[in-house]
């Protein structure tokens, strides 16, 4: 599905933010990249949708999506791919949405950008998608402005937009980090259902090891732009070989084991 081959990314002339990154995501697989700030996890995920922040450039290696090299694509080819076959959800969908336009008008624009159809038809397509993401009163939500929705509802609206064309690959950059715990649980369940319903592969970036361990088939631990360890949940949580992984796990608060007072 998605294949990183020895990818390095640098911003400007600086040291690479990501070096020699290798990863293969299979169809229907959920892979999590975990690590602290500056570990390169966001750089890794953004390079797969051609949206590296200013000055970022792949300086080595190749990224293949269904056998197609993403680094050679023209603007037109990117537009066909993004949204329809690869899409992305962000930490705060509220910040992605235009605050002075309704959810519906933005959703309709998004749909019609990718697939020509009548406005009415696009509206209905969007509304149905909101409903499938577990948002009640989807008609009212289409008419709402982003600030009228709670963080969890906005995130669901963001996921609905990302999933409307049933893409094969969903890139999720800290999708639950800005949410409260009960809302986080709702969104995690939602994403697992996406995989079940549509067979979507998910590449997830998170600093929450608990979420990564619950959701992912495979976890990659990153620091300083490199992968230090990868494996399934048990391999990482119970048999971590790398020092950094062990220190990271040691620092994560848990419910039963560790007490400071």
């Amino acid at each position: 599905m998605l294949c990183y081959q020895n990818v390095s990314v640098a911003y400007g002339d600086g040291a690479p933010a990501l070096s020699g990154f290798n990863l293969e995501v299979k169809a229907g697989e959920i892979v999590a990249l975990v690590g602290e700030s500056g570990s390169g996890k966001t750089t890794a995920i953004r390079s797969a949708i051609g949206l590296l922040p200013g000055g970022g450039k792949v300086i080595q290696g190749d990224i293949l999506f269904q056998g197609l090299s993403l680094l050679q694509l023209s603007g037109e080819e990117w537009r066909n791919l993004r949204g329809q076959r690869i899409s992305m959800i962000f930490q705060d969908s509220g910040a992605m949405l235009n605050p002075i336009r309704t959810i519906g008008s933005q959703f309709v624009e998004y749909i019609r950008t990718h697939r020509p159809m009548a406005k009415k038809e696009a509206w209905e397509m969007g509304r149905v998608m909101l409903e499938r993401m577990g948002l009640p009163h989807s008609g009212d939500i289409m008419k709402s402005y982003p600030f009228q929705l709670s963080g969890g509802m906005r995130q669901r609206a963001g996921i609905a937009m990302a999933m409307v064309f049933e893409p094969k690959l969903l890139l999720a950059d800290e999708p639950t980090s800005a949410l409260d715990v009960t809302t986080q649980a709702q969104i995690v369940r939602q994403m697992l259902e996406l995989r079940q319903q549509y067979g979507t592969s998910i590449l997830l970036v998170t600093h929450n090891l608990g979420v990564a361990a619950y959701m992912a088939d495979r976890i990659l631990v990153m620091t300083g732009g490199r992968v230090v360890e990868s494996g399934c949940r048990e391999e990482i949580l119970q048999q971590a070989k790398d020092d950094y992984t062990r220190r990271l796990l040691e620092a994560v608060p848990d419910m039963r084991r560790k007490r400071y007072v």
Partner: protein, 318 residues
């Protein structure tokens, strides 16, 4: 509990909205804080945590209820008396990058509270700054640095040093580690707990991370929609918490020691609006164990075990 230092009785704060409606941010919250104790406060956005902190730190005055500091009623204090009272409760903020004036050197920033309250010579100030930096394990020469040239963890140490400058009896931490990476978070927690032991400092630690809060708190209060719904010892949170909302919070936590085969059954819907609060139980609308009684009657906080109180009709035998 040891000697009680801070006590809130039925603290209530209401705000009027533009549309002439009343938003109740804090709805009769009772709490006590003992000397040398940490009280953790957890709850989701909009549960009234921040408003409660503003009441406790005397930045706002409650519309009803009383606040007692060292047994003395400080609710109605004004002017100089209020100013003097505030020095006993100091605060550490969530975002250390935003909590400092960018053009003030670290030494000046942490000595500002000292200069506000005491007449000290330049020499004495330098000495106190050096002591404070040592206390938070920062090198002495950091006094000459600007906050922007430090890492997030170092800045938060600076925030702690500033809050401790006046040697307060209570330290209030508002999500003090939420903006930090986990490894840095752990260092800051260890520092806070060390300082607490050295100085018998009382702490109020507000945080949305239940796992973290219970690990460093002697007692934990769970808030929902402006109400304290359960108070219990930190080490009993996992096993003994019984309020349906507290259970739901626990079921929503993703921890690395959780049972991964357990399906997630999240609480449906969102927290209702604090405008026009329902008459009965604040959690009634989302509660899986809703009873007729919950519709009309708000459950009081009642003891179910030593140091353990719950506001739920299921546990109110009276």
């Amino acid at each position: 509990m040891s000697e009680i230092l801070l006590e809130g009785r039925q603290l209530t704060r209401r705000y009027a909205t533009d549309a002439g409606r009343i938003l109740t941010a804090c709805n009769g919250v009772d709490l006590m804080l003992g000397k040398g104790e940490t009280l953790g406060i957890v709850g989701e956005s909009g549960c009234g945590k921040s408003t409660l902190l503003r009441l406790l730190t005397q930045l706002e005055r409650p519309d009803a209820g009383r606040l007692l500091l060292g047994g003395e009623d400080v609710t109605g204090l004004k002017g100089e008396q209020l100013r003097q009272s505030r020095r006993h409760i100091q605060m550490v903020f969530q975002d250390p990058a935003a909590a400092f004036f960018p053009r003030m050197k670290a030494g000046d920033a942490i000595s500002e509270p000292l200069r506000n309250f005491e007449k000290l010579s330049r020499q004495e100030i330098n000495k106190r700054v050096a002591q404070l930096l040592e206390l938070v394990q920062l090198p002495k020469d950091y006094a000459q640095r600007y906050p922007h040239s430090m890492s997030g963890g170092q800045r938060q140490r600076l925030g702690i040093a500033r809050a401790l400058a006046l040697n307060p009896s209570i330290l209030v931490c508002d999500e003090a580690t939420s903006a930090l990476d986990v490894s840095v978070q752990e260092q800051i927690i260890r520092l806070l707990v060390d300082i607490q032991r050295q100085r018998r400092l009382s702490m109020i630690f507000v945080c949305h991370d239940l796992a973290l809060v219970q690990s460093l708190s002697h007692r934990v209060m769970v808030m929902y929609l402006g109400n304290g719904v359960e108070i219990l010892p930190g080490d009993q949170v996992w096993n003994k918490a019984c309020h349906p909302y507290a259970r739901a919070l626990l079921d929503s936590v993703f921890a690395i020691d959780m049972n991964f085969s357990k399906p997630i059954a999240p609480l449906e819907g969102d927290v209702p609006s604090p405008l026009d609060l329902p008459a009965g139980c604040p959690f009634g609308a989302r509660c899986p164990r809703f009873m007729e009684r919950c519709r009309s009657e708000k459950p009081p906080l009642v003891p179910v075990a030593p140091d353990h109180q719950v506001a739920c009709h299921l546990y109110n035998m009276a």
